[in-house]
Symmetry: C2
Subunit: 375 residues, 2 copies
């Protein structure tokens, strides 16, 4: 039996632990090798070409004509960028929260002294369009409305495809801002049709690229709102980013290796067909759900709101989650995740993000079954 | 003769343009290959080990016992972090500016609504300790004092080794914050001895690693000040970073490939000996200075303040800088840089950062001489 130490050694020697955790995900060699190519300057024709190509591909995938900004930051950096740019000091935003990442946005707003109204659901529940309709019918006119599309702490996927049009109908002045960190590239998102002004993500989840680059599609309406916001800061200032984006640049030095890897990953996705990719994720997630139920567990998220990229499992058998993760890792080199934050031992999480194949998944599920049958 | 297009093609095919520009710099294969290794989670023993090892090496190089924070951002992100954490809304900071990056800090302070006093020198001048002594002798007691150590827009290196002790003597309450983006790893910095509370940098300059990771050593005094600052935001909050740093983590997903590359780069530097590395940079920069003077140019920065990592050259021959850069790039695959911002055509810049060897430099200077002898 391999020990944990030897697993870590494998990692440091460049051999992969098979990751079924919600990011950073496993990255195939054809993408990894882009990371180690020599870089030119971030002010060069070759950079501009890379920037522009990657933007176009993301616009295709997101079904949008909006500009795409690249942030040298994690997804959390882009989340904070939205708070800084889209909540005027004298205005008000609405935050729809149903888990840890909704709470993170709330914390970002308050720590930046921005005024927000919050509707927070119990963890495990999703936003029903009827409920959202009632919320948005309030007299108050919001400057911006924030929602987590795929709440990876609870496994909830909110129906942004229904909520976006409701925002348009009931709060037409509001900028609609969607955290798609854990689903962009793994589930169809129609930015323009769904009325999404800012749709943000990062490379290390469903896009299947190493961590280090944030992404957002940003509408003209969002930029106009940013223009009315004081104290947007410098690093995440949308208007400065727009100025540079027009020249196919970012204001500061870009994470070029990650952008290059993203460009190649997107090319492959488009060649394979996005529809196929999305179906593949759904199919794999369905297999994961079946397996955990078969092993005597239950799904944590509310029915009808279950994410197609991550499965959050209720620890109904009351196993030691941490021990099970370590055991599977040490004996098979496969890793899944504990629950997030306060759900650490109450749930565990299995992701089907990025480039995991069905064969990979079958091997993992076989090990998983063995672990929970023997126990 | 190669065309620009073919140079760009070379880059995209993974062949190197030889970079004598002030970052991103050329990175040797033994570091590049770290970028393309498989990643484990950012919450794992293997990550913690990497984090902790890299911290220890940076502490050795910077001669400090202060904690080291890693930021998934460019150097500008860390600059903004300092503004957010080290200038209380009701307090006041002093910014010593002598070029573009000093001005960027000022812009960051004002765009974040923080009050600052500014002493700005004409571009090309450096901060004489006697002048700084007068400034710091003012009655006003600053919460924090900011200076750019190596101002890469003008080629000035400010004598932080003299200014730090003056801060300690004359403004003992102040947190001393140093932007060492373009010199950390290329010039000795004694953080503790020089009274530096925050010393910040990024990977893509003298540390000779691809872009995407910011670095700062942060003293207890700086953390105590941050504790008195409201509205530090989330992404760059020093206190949150400290909390995670104690577990060898960062609050959000780290740019793991870049951290792994940095760890290997630092290991090599320490094995080679930092003193040797610094002498090597000095020697190379002296060669560059001699060459440009021989070609009929003059040095831009004030005598006695010339950087040992970047040479900013006054375009006394009034050549078209842009044309010369393109010509050298297209005919030889070597790239130097135009002047920064308003100095774009009035100066040009040649860097000796990272891993450039003397042989590489000699070839570059030979091409440079040919270009300017023929012209």
């Amino acid at each position: 039996m391999k020990t944990l130490k030897s697993i870590d050694k494998l990692c440091s020697e460049g051999q992969a632990v098979k990751l079924f955790a919600p990011g950073p995900v496993q990255v195939p060699t054809f993408i990894l090798q882009e990371m180690s190519k020599p870089n030119d300057l971030h002010r060069s024709k070759s950079y501009q070409e890379l920037h522009s190509q990657t933007r176009s591909k993301l616009q295709r995938i997101l079904h949008t004509e909006n500009d795409i900004f690249f942030f040298t930051s994690s997804g959390s950096g882009v989340m904070e960028a939205c708070v800084l740019n889209l909540i005027p000091k004298t205005g008000r935003a609405l935050m729809l929260s149903c888990g840890n990442f909704g709470e993170r946005w709330i914390e970002m707003a308050t720590s930046n002294d921005r005024m927000i109204d919050v509707v927070a659901l119990e963890w495990g529940k999703g936003f029903h369009p009827e409920k959202v309709e009632t919320i948005l019918s309030a007299e108050k006119q919001y400057d911006s409305i924030f929602i987590t599309m795929n709440e990876s702490s609870t496994g909830i996927m909110n129906p942004v495809w229904e909520i976006g049009p409701l925002v348009k109908k009931l709060q037409p002045q509001a900028v609609f801002c969607v955290d798609a960190v854990s689903c962009m590239g793994g589930r169809e998102i129609k930015v323009d049709e769904w009325n999404i002004d800012v749709c943000l993500s990062a490379t290390q989840k469903c896009l299947g690229v190493p961590p280090g680059l944030g992404i957002a599609s940003v509408s003209e309406k969002a930029l106009a709102l940013a223009g009315r916001v004081q104290n947007r800061g410098w690093y995440f200032d949308f208007l400065n980013m727009k100025k540079y984006s027009e020249k196919d640049y970012t204001p500061a030095t870009t994470n070029i290796p990650c952008l290059r890897a993203l460009n190649v990953a997107l090319e492959k996705m488009l060649t394979d067909g996005m529809e196929n990719r999305y179906l593949h994720h759904e199919k794999m997630t369905q297999k994961i759900r079946n397996c955990v139920i078969e092993c005597g567990f239950e799904l944590f998220p509310e029915k009808g709101f279950q994410s197609s990229t991550i499965t959050v499992v209720k620890n109904t058998r009351k196993v030691s989650v941490e021990d099970c993760i370590q055991k599977l890792l040490e004996t098979t080199g496969h890793r899944f995740s504990n629950g997030y934050g306060k759900l650490s031992e109450k749930t565990f999480r299995i992701a089907a993000m990025g480039w995991i194949t069905e064969d990979d998944l079958d091997v993992f599920l076989q090990h998983f079954r063995t672990l929970f049958t023997k126990n």
